[in-house]
Amino acid sequence: MNTELMMWFLRLAGLICVGLVVANFVASRRLGYARSLAGAETLVRQIFYVHCAYIVMLISGLAILSLGWPELFLEPGMGRVVSGFFAVFWGSRVVVQLTYYDPKYRRRERFWDFFFLLVFLSLAVIFASATLVTQ
């Protein structure tokens, strides 16, 4: 694949990641994190929110890199390793959604389930392509 085209796809991945960061905040309200965690012990609640924050931080970092410096993901050596990590990251997210998340809930939210599967799959394909593309 052409390097210039690949860089556009990586920028698109960056935009998708920005969307995911926003979606995380929407999800916390829609899924009622605060209400669901109200009965949990303080430490469990804190760990949950800390993990959420770290995931958002990781996706934000990825968005910044993909939008600002997409060429980094195509550099031989390290660039490919980072791309490979994110290909596995998003690929495994598809597997988690299909095999681990509550099927009843997924059926109830069929549109969003399909939408996010498509989003995660697109990101996995983009970063896998960045790992494999030869300059």
Binding site: S36, L43, M57, G61, Y100, Y101, D102, Y105
Partner: protein, 142 residues
């Protein structure tokens, strides 16, 4: 300086590897399974999924520190960005260690106290190492 940072990265990689392995005991020590039982299935699934991704990130940092030291010490903007990100990651963790978590619910045993202190030392060392590495990659050593 470069040699020192190289040794620091080997130690960091080793420390992160130990952290990744030790992380498998954290749910047992903190009784996550029992404590999460009262949550809805979706919240439980989210909790475990997020935890797994955080663990994977730590494993990735360990792989970087052990297998890609030359690149992390290359003095490029990409190496500075990566070092800076990892430094930020551990700075947040250090802040949480001192001011974020309420550890009163954790059983006060000698082993838990030791684990807490070792974790604190590890997080502080990682924060300092990656801060120096960021400075180095930005040309701070001249």
């Amino acid at each position: 300086m470069k040699e020192l940072l190289n040794i620091g990265l080997i130690l960091a990689g080793f420390g992160l590897s130990v952290l990744v392995v030790a992380s498998f005991w954290i749910p047992k020590i903190l009784g996550w399974k029992e404590k999460l039982a009262g949550l809805t299935p979706l919240m439980r699934e989210l909790f475990w999924t997020y935890s797994a991704y955080i663990l994977a990130s730590h494993l990735f940092f360990a792989i970087l520190a052990l297998g890609f030291r030359d690149w992390l010490l290359s003095g490029t903007s990409a190496a500075a960005a990566m070092s800076g990100f990892i430094c930020f990651w551990w700075s947040v963790r250090v802040y949480l260690q001192f001011f974020g978590f309420d550890l009163e619910e954790v059983e006060d045993t000698a082993l838990n106290r030791l684990a807490k202190h070792l974790l604190t030392v590890l997080f502080v060392c990682l924060m300092i190492l990656f801060a120096i590495l960021t400075w180095w990659n930005l040309g701070g050593a001249g």
